[in-house]
Symmetry: D3
Subunit: 138 residues, 6 copies
């Protein structure tokens, strides 16, 4: 039941514009499904991003992973690319993927997974607002 | 280890009065077990309620579940019934169940479970105060 | 424009039931004015109470006021009397005063003012919910 | 020093896209002054809006102002107009005013001031992020 | 998939000084690995500690565990020993263990585990800052 | 009553160790006044620092002050000097000033005041814990 692993969490944030829209649907269908989130001129959020990394404690450092290195990785790979951007227009990954919170979390996971040693478990928690958030993998 | 499921969380709140009390116990036993929470005139809380729904991302919408529909369901089934109420006196479910945070979470689960498609995992997180909260199922 | 005073703030909390009601009004008038807050069986809140005391820094201690003494005073005079209580039924001061957030802040001020040296400025900030709060004096 | 006024605060929120830009400046000047906030494709925020109203407690209701009426007013005048919008493109008031936090607070004040009785003091507090916020009047 | 267990969480806090340092490494190695956290004169944190206990709801009380008893246990075993202390110098357990957040969580677990009935699952969540936190077991 | 000034607030943080102690008092007097805050081995805090600057909105930028410049100033003058330090041992200003929250706020004010144009009003808000904070000038 118990494991000897520890999870460490690092919280960062970025501000971005987005619009929910599926090119394969009609204007009416998009409006019906996405409502005000479909606004053609975009709206935006302060995204709070929490990265969870689980693994064994290193005997020399007492760390699971160096939080400074993890934080720098998140900043280089995610924050510098996503912050103060329009997700639909400025971010390659969302050219053909609707930037729902679920899909943003999945995209962030696919970007970070190859950069973090496979011995670590990785989880993405993304707050779109204080009242709506998602977690991948569940 | 990993799954392709995403969890989505929606936070709502309600304010209610309650009193911890078990009719099958004596006045003294109730006082000994529940202390000031047993106050005959009730006390109250701002309950923060977080509903977690886990499932696959829908390819058309990019949603696990439409947050607007989930939020409306929580409002209709829980918030409109519990908000600004006395849990012991006004809510049928607590006529014979002591409204501890644990039991409130369980009651909310039993109300919502039949309203949410079985393909989804459901979890209830309930903050009674900023320092005390519960989760069902664990 | 500038003063040499420092303000110190101490945050405490209490949980209580209440009901908004004015005995001088009819049942219909009470319902019209106070809506669901008029529920005859009460509802409740986690009240967050912030006490602000402003004064000069003491040269010996470096304190405006000893926070431990201030915290003990708030606990003795307010928290022990209000916590896990029904404001309308259990608290003498609300026998004839409607326990709105405004009136609760005013009552707390009148209780604490004589207990805190007159050289200090005193202000009461009371959160009824995360989204509604009041301040007295304004 | 003391007044008999109470301040009441009501918190609401809206999500919007914006871009900082002054049409009278060159592209280079805009970029130099506003940096990444000048992104031509916009970015966005979860704006937390706090409206402060100060006045005397009403003897009949125990309210300074009915929070339900205040909340409805904020929703009708501000939230429904600003939420899920692009401030630069969708909001008339920002056609010729740069939507900095300072200017947004000032615009909100000018919209609400005529709708709130002159006997009340009015103040706007606007959080653009958790770490940046503004207040008008100061 | 579902269990009939409920998790309860209790949040407490303590303030402490610490320094990250491994006696088996050289001064230069310590500086390289721990950076400013290695400051010979210590620095400090407000640690937020969340204890999670999972188990069945008791039919008589409606509790998984009495929160008052759990809170008193955390206070006696952890808060009174760690609060306003220097973890490296004042706490026996860190004489030979580097007080990283990971190790502090593990130490707290080893202290509390024998004091909490084995039928309960136990988890430690420790916030070192608002942006860095850990969980043991993962 | 109203002014045309806007206040802008910028929040930063630093972690530090400290000890409350007055060299002019005896060991017993220090212990009696400062209690566990007098621990000879120090304890520590996550200090949340909010800098308030009030002034007129600039017609060209729409800013009271450029938040990026303000944030950089706070980082250079305060955060880089105070973060991960022992206030009593590492910070010149506290060699002869007891580092209570009141005095820390006053010291930060005296450091920043000459660096910020005199046309601006300046205020320091410092959270020592979530429950204790101070403001200078009051």
């Amino acid at each position: 039941m118990e494991s000897f692993k520890v999870s460490v969490y690092r919280k960062e944030h970025f501000n971005a514009a987005h619009r929910l829209h599926n090119d394969l649907l009609s204007i009416e269908e998009n409006k019906a499904i996405f409502g005000k989130c479909n606004n053609i001129n975009y709206h935006g959020h302060n995204y709070e991003l929490i990265i969870k990394v689980a693994g064994e404690i290193d005997a020399v450092t007492g760390y699971v992973i160096d939080m400074k290195i993890l934080s720098d990785l998140i900043k280089t790979e995610i924050i510098e690319r996503f912050d103060h951007k329009n997700l639909n227009l400025d971010i390659e990954e969302f050219k053909h993927i609707n930037p729902t919170a679920e899909n943003i979390a999945w995209v962030i996971y696919t970007i970070l997974r190859p950069k973090i040693e496979i011995k670590y478990e990785l989880k993405i928690i993304l707050y779109e607002t204080e009242r709506n958030y998602v977690e991948y993998p569940s």
